[in-house]
Amino acid sequence: MSFSVNFPLFCIVGSLLTAVVSSVLGDRWARRVCMAMVSVVAVLNGVLLGYLTGLGRSVSYTMGHYPHPWGNELTLDSLEALVSVVFSLVLLLCLLGGKAQLQRDLGDRKRNLYYVMAALVQTSLLALVYTNDVFTGYVFIEICTIASCGLLMIRQIGRTTLASVRYMIFSLIGSGLFMLGVVFLYNITGHLLMPELKQTLADLWQSGLYRAPLLTGMSLITIGLAIKSGLFPFHFWMPDTYGYATPSSAGILSGLVSKGYIFLLLKLIFRAFGTQVFYGAGIHHILYLLGVIGMVVGSVSAIREDDIFRMVAYSSAAQIGYIYMGIGISPDLGVTAAVYHILTHAITKPALFLASAQLTDGAGGSKRFRELQGAAYSNWVAGLGFSVGALSMIGLPFTMGLIAKYLFARAAFQSELKMIPTLVVLGISTVLNTLYFARTILRLYNRPKRKLAKPCPVRRQIPYAVSALVLSGMNLLLGIVAQPLISMIEQGLKQF
């Protein structure tokens, strides 16, 4: 089993190779290869997860046997493996569930390119999750950005071009800031590997030297990643990006890519900055504040939206706010909640995007609510998928949303200062979520205004149905029996 520590590297390289290979394959084979790769990645990470959980500590994986501080390293522990498993699974389900729309949106020519991009996203996500090197992190951030833009732009309508330009600009600003921050830290400490960086930073922080540049460096990195993950007030690219992309892309971008950045940030906080330094510097207060505001603003914007995709996209902005709020509360319970919510959102949001796509197809392609009236009757799987996702977003019992809410509230009680605001905002945000998600569900199950399109043939529905049912099932299962997941997260955070 100890062999499994090699899996992450295999996965990363394998994904990269898949990307290369896919570019010369035909559509169908590209898809098959890509999906097979993602499945294999999921399985391998699963094995690794089992191994690491049993091992009970984290493992440094040096590449090419160059010892640190020179070599490039990966760190493996159960939390990272867990996140990778979930990400791969969701990626697979996204590709599966959005298949029909992909065919429609892309035509026949470029579909293999789509899978190239997907494989690249997979590569960079894995790298972001596993890397132990700040600069490697930066490199894959950029790869991820480009791949994401590709996923977005590949649907060639004017809107997506505009959206991807905007996304690109924001993303590049983000990665630029990240880069600057890395430069700051590297200049002062001379390290790019996280453990060394952490050690040096801790010493420096204690001595009081270079406070300002250190703080600047950490802030720049944090802000850079916050922009890329779409924290308020940098969330304005979201609705266009998610709203007009092809559904699988929307699912991947909102559910995985932005979460990858957040996970990297968490990793940096724990491994590179050190929680004592980071939380001592007080940056988390700003994250908390922005997160809280984002929760409300995102939901309010969602309420005012008339387009189901954009509404779901704005809801993403709110959910990102939740995660940052968790990070801002405290490094233990708060971050536990944040990580749990990362998973919640990664499972829920793609389900919502995919379901919305099915529903709008059923309603003749219009995304307006008025046209969607009764759409759930033409496609009950999509109706179910959307309902489960929406209920989870609201935070109803037996979904992951409730557990996430519970974890946030539990964390809030750790902090005298943030307890009441957190709980109140959680309450308000639930009300707001209820307003727009409930409205949508009721709309979907209302009496159809006109005759709905015939349900498409069962055979073509199977991929989506599988994906929707698996996502919903995961949501419910992890919402009902949540403790194993929470324990894993807690254990993983301890190893961080």
Partner: protein, 487 residues
């Protein structure tokens, strides 16, 4: 009986309800048969369990280490379950006739049956988190019932209902988590769980108590949060009758009882400003609901406002924080369910037979539908609180409790209660009077006939129930007193 059996009455209706929903080929007879069968079976089971089930807990699963999902059938749960299990089959019977000409029967019976299981789940919930889960599920399972006829008005009402209920629960959730994180994770225990924890008697506790009170108070229609209730009376009558006079709103009351008496604990809350604020809102609601009921011209909405007012009687009783108050509150919960569901049934029967739904249009209908109007008169008299009907008994216990309690708030509440009782006469009696004595257009009554036996039987049974539980209230009073004494 082992308390594992508690799962049966909870799961059976839910399973059958979902089964009805996914039924492929269906006839109306099959659906209603299934619904009635499941309801009856669950009722019988519930009554068996009320008498036979041991008072022990059964943990179904752990959501997380702190949040367990467990069932326990204590005396309060049995009391409420008794009410629900008695009234539900009657309503299903009523619905057979009422819904005979309505569409979407499958959806209706499906969710109606599911809601039954969920309500029983609320009764049997062993701790606050389980209660919370069922509480949310109750909201979800009843929304389709509220928007059943899918008119714009109904959908809007459903939306309001959802937003209020879920939003309220969100704030209640904060209170739940406050309790959970402060060690009060265990099962409900009479007298509260919070004794001796670090936040005892701090402003924080009161704030969270109030969050919980108003959160669960949404279903109990406490003053600023009552708006959904009158709106929701667009639903078909079996729904408004059962859910908005009995199951849903009483679940709110029940949750507040659990919160006050079994979680925060009366000794802790007694004398705090939180108690006074909560009492204040209950008192305002009593009068407010009654005043709006008087102003309302639509019969069912009037009854809904009346419910708003009456629910606050119960809240008032709970918040007096004396055993007598809880006793009165429990009695009113039982008796009010009986009389209000009767009133709704009558209004529904009239609407079903004649299409008339406004107070002003009832002139002389009593001569065409004597049974219905006799029953309505009984319910009106009982609601007003006139002996020997049961409404008098519960009012008596509530008011003596207020007199015993002796705080200024209790006196204010007693006054408000009497005022609201007077207003009850003002809004209930004119309908009865104009039904019996009002002028009808000549010939307009010729075509109107009494509703069939499936509506009539629940009417008569409930009227007799209203009378008999008033005349011989002692068993109910004893049960309530036992609960209030901590049994």
């Amino acid at each position: 009986m082992n308390s594992v059996f508690l799962l049966l009455p909870v799961c059976l209706p839910i399973a059958v309800g979902l089964g009805i929903f996914f039924l492929k080929r269906h006839s109306a007879g099959l659906i209603s048969g299934l619904a009635m069968g499941a309801t009856l079976a669950a009722s019988v089971l519930t009554w068996l369990l009320i008498f036979l089930c041991r008072q022990e807990s059964f943990v179904l699963l752990h959501l997380t280490d702190a949040l367990s999902f467990c069932f326990r059938f204590d005396s309060l749960g049995r009391f409420y379950a008794g009410i629900v299990a008695t009234l539900w089959p009657l309503t299903v019977l009523y619905a057979f006739s009422y819904m005979a000409h309505e569409g979407h029967k499958r959806v209706f019976y499906s969710f109606f049956t599911v809601a039954y299981g969920v309500t029983l789940g609320i009764c049997t919930a062993g701790n606050l988190i389980t209660l919370y889960c069922f509480y949310e599920m109750l909201t979800l399972s009843t929304v389709p019932l509220v928007m059943h006829n899918l008119t714009r008005q109904a959908v809007r009402a459903a939306r309001t209902y959802l937003a209020f209920s879920l939003g309220g629960a969100a704030f209640a959730f904060a209170s739940v988590i406050f309790l959970v994180t402060n060690g009060a994770v265990g099962e409900f225990s009479f007298g509260g769980l919070l004794a001796g924890h670090p936040y005892e008697r701090s402003a924080l506790t009161w704030v969270f108590f109030l969050l919980g009170f108003f959160g669960f108070g949404v279903k109990a229609a406490v003053f600023p949060l009552h708006i959904w209730l009158p709106k929701a009376s667009v639903a078909p009558t079996p729904v408004t009758a059962l859910l908005h006079a009995v199951a849903v709103v009483n679940s709110g009351i029940f949750a507040v009882m659990r919160l006050v008496w079994y979680c925060y604990g009366p000794t802790l809350l007694r004398g705090s400003w939180a108690q006074n604020i909560a009492l204040g809102f209950a008192i305002i609601t009593m009068v407010y609901g009654a005043v709006y009921a008087v102003k309302e011209g639509h019969w069912k909405r009037r009854l809904a406002y009346s419910t708003v007012s009456n629910l606050s009687y119960m809240l008032f009783g709970i918040l007096l924080l004396t055993p007598q108050g809880l006793e009165g509150s429990l009695l009113h919960m039982a008796f009010h369910s009986c009389m209000k569901i009767l009133a709704f049934f009558c209004a529904g029967a009239v609407f079903h037979q004649t299409g008339r739904e406004y107070n002003a249009s009832l002139g002389g209908l009593g001569r065409a539908m004597p049974v219905t109007f006799t029953c309505f008169t009984i319910s009106a008299v009982a609601l007003t609180g006139i002996p020997p009907f049961n409404g008098f008994v519960s009012k008596w216990y509530l008011l003596t409790a207020a007199a015993e309690c002796g705080t200024p708030m209790a006196y204010a509440g007693a006054g408000a209660l009497l005022l609201s009782a007077l207003l009850t006469a003002v809004y209930m009696m004119p309908n009865a009077v104009s039904g019996w004595f009002g002028r009808a257009e000549p010939g307009s009554l010729d075509t109107i006939r009494e509703a069939d036996w499936r509506m009539g039987l629940p009417h008569v049974v409930l009227s007799l129930g209203t009378l008999i539980t008033g005349l011989f209230a002692q068993p109910v009073v004893q049960a309530a007193a036992a609960i209030a004494a901590g049994g």
